[in-house]
Symmetry: C2
Subunit: 507 residues, 2 copies
Amino acid sequence: MTKKDETAISPTRAQNYPEWYQQVIRASDMAEISPVRGCMVIKPWGYALWENLSRALDDMFKATGVKNAYFPLFIPIDFLEKEARHVEGFAKECAVVTHHKLEKDENGKLVPAGKLNEPLIVRPTSETIIGDAFARWIRSYRDLPVLINQWANVVRWEMRTRIFLRTSEFLWQEGHTVHATKQEAIDRTFMMLNVYKKMAEQYLAIPVITGEKTEAEKFPGAEITTCIEAMMQDRRALQAGTSHFLGQNFAKASDIRFQSAEETEQYGWTTSWGVSTRLIGGLIMTHSDDNGVVFPPRISPTHVVLLPIIKREDHRETVMKYSTDLAEKLRSQNYHGSAVRVEIDERNIGGARNWEWIKKGVPVRVEIGPKDIEKQAVYVSRRDRDRKDSVSMDRQEFADGICDLLDEIQNSLYEKALDYQNQHTRDIDDKDEFDAFFTPENKERPEIHGGFARSHWCGKTECELAIKERLNVTIRCIPFDREKQDGKCIECGAPAKSGRVIFAKAY
Amino acid sequence: MTKKDETAISPTRAQNYPEWYQQVIRASDMAEISPVRGCMVIKPWGYALWENLSRALDDMFKATGVKNAYFPLFIPIDFLEKEARHVEGFAKECAVVTHHKLEKDENGKLVPAGKLNEPLIVRPTSETIIGDAFARWIRSYRDLPVLINQWANVVRWEMRTRIFLRTSEFLWQEGHTVHATKQEAIDRTFMMLNVYKKMAEQYLAIPVITGEKTEAEKFPGAEITTCIEAMMQDRRALQAGTSHFLGQNFAKASDIRFQSAEETEQYGWTTSWGVSTRLIGGLIMTHSDDNGVVFPPRISPTHVVLLPIIKREDHRETVMKYSTDLAEKLRSQNYHGSAVRVEIDERNIGGARNWEWIKKGVPVRVEIGPKDIEKQAVYVSRRDRDRKDSVSMDRQEFADGICDLLDEIQNSLYEKALDYQNQHTRDIDDKDEFDAFFTPENKERPEIHGGFARSHWCGKTECELAIKERLNVTIRCIPFDREKQDGKCIECGAPAKSGRVIFAKAY
């Protein structure tokens, strides 16, 4: 691991991408699989990222007038049944509570006891339980809009789990709003999608495509599902956030009515929108390299780690004084509204120390030894650059320029990810080319394929499903910024008039 | 409700305390009972309080080196069984997940399907699932201490629920630490108890007694349970937070071992500590009056509400300009590290507007009408004072002094609560007096009784249980600051040497 031509993570992305993903997470100490089926433990380094991300999102929500609240973890089955497509979508994968205590059986084994009259499910999402509350809260148009968000854990009993990306339990936020008019609800749907786009691009440095889901990929019960889609380094798409216009479907299901200004009784128009710990998986898959995770400065738990090099005990005091002075200088700088986050790691464990911080993805590492102090310098390494590019810099200059440096790293990560996405996105009009684009050359490495295809589609679900069946490729979204050009459906050849849509393999 | 001799809340505390409690919560719009048995909905006004409280606690935790993490919601039954007293304590009241999907039966009714091989319980607390992770994380003394906190929801299937105070699901934080030595773990137990004391007294303005629980009242599996106990306005005690020294019990149960510096294999010493949304119930019961809740400024979602009085449309612009200028002036002031929180309520709904903010407990209300503007004045009402004490003040003087005013309110709430506690705490050495102290004069008003009795106790569980049986009174704690005086057990008359303990009826 210390030789220059070796990487810290084995296997590399090129060798085995799915296994590389598990290994970068392990090496970063962000999270681990738990002994509970499909559930993860989010360790402090991963949770700190979630805290930064959720704090920033929460501020953005509140700036649009949204307030936080909290609703029950459990949902009665008959609530779920109120919206037919909704129950269809979630019944297959939910944790069901049937008893309220444990008792010893004749063999002394603890078994469920105290059977509930009506089983409860652990929330997979909260439209129905929140809708029930909204029906009580809302009487008149004066009570509208209602703009609520909940930070919570949810459970979906996934059969195949992958840490952060798809786990049985995950953390998320779910926004739920009610409006007096259809247009206002649609506007809110797009407003929140734009908050997600801002979070992805400006904080996580993940370029995203915004668009609308097809009928087949919509949220169960939604009229319109909008989404942000990102390209991972294996060229598959990750749905990183969704915002739904629910029409009056859930309002009718939950009986959310109000007296209008004209004194007529009307159903409300609702929206819901959410992002989850899945974003962390997307972050890892976008920026990390064969030496570990790479964190964009805006959400990194630590911006700068100082690594004092103390080879002789009589140097300790000088080196530590120099380091703590520098830490103080750095912390006094305001990086996008909060102090620069600095850690000093004075462990004397040789090269392993430097590698640990590389694997943890900290944007800037600074080595400080007696020779640096002589020159009033610091030895600076950027996580987004090769180790060979580390440079000696004047200490004061480094401290003064830290915010610019962090912004530069932030931007370079975004640009690199955008280049990657552009490079692996192709306009395809020929079916054979389309199939070849998505067919792995090596059957043992099914993850290696073309990327995003921008192709025409006639609008029929059959064509979409035929492609999914044949290639495991789906329409990720109908992008908002598409040109309205004419073309032929990539599957059936029929005229397609609404412009190119994004096809990809997806997480 | 507008007549001066009437109160906003009916019944009053004196008329029916338990019902008054429900009504102040309803009137404040903080929370409501949900349709899910024993679960509550925390509405925005209540959740904002929880956000302020948890943000302040989180900062205090982090200042002691604690980091946040997240562990699974579900706990396998065999984990719970690892610590005998622990499973005993929680098996009677836990939600059990037995199935992972729903299917339609022959009548088209959705029923649980996909039976789990091993049922899971929804965490009532996380010692066992976190202990399992700690056993993996800890290898050597160099890994210690481990200082972890989790913000989470937990479920205890309570038979009798009361909003905030005792609900089947509640929000809390649970800290879990591992140490190399017994002394270090004990020190941490007390350190966190002191954080809770600081939260209660300095933020919530609730005076608390710190002490140790008796054997009968300890956390299941703990060696020492320390607690903060507060007196509510019905003179009952509320256990507002606990910090446990767990010895090596959970370390042995979860196999948390480490290699010591001397290269011997040892079990770790663990602690756990938690406070919950119950604190909000304690806050309400400590300060609220017959006009609604009263919030201490340090954690109030809003510090000052401005109420522009616009009787004629041609006054609107002037009054609003004056109000927004004032709001800006107030917000520019820093109250304990954050901007003063100001709301302007310009609804024209008459006296109901003022009453709404009284019922919501906002510390300072400011009315602004054309006559106030003429005098460059504001009309200021303090929530902790009678409405008759409202005063006209110079606008600039008010704005400049807002932080002092808020501190004054904060302190006066604390002093008032402390007076109440002192007034209803009595040293009792006579058994008849003791029984009379705890016996309600009116059987229909069982809540009205003496308060806290400081009496001697021989240390035997039998005596404690006999008192509980007879009077529903328990030892709330053996206070740390007690004098070590000799006395006779209030129950059996045997010599008692360790000083007076606190007896009370408890929530």
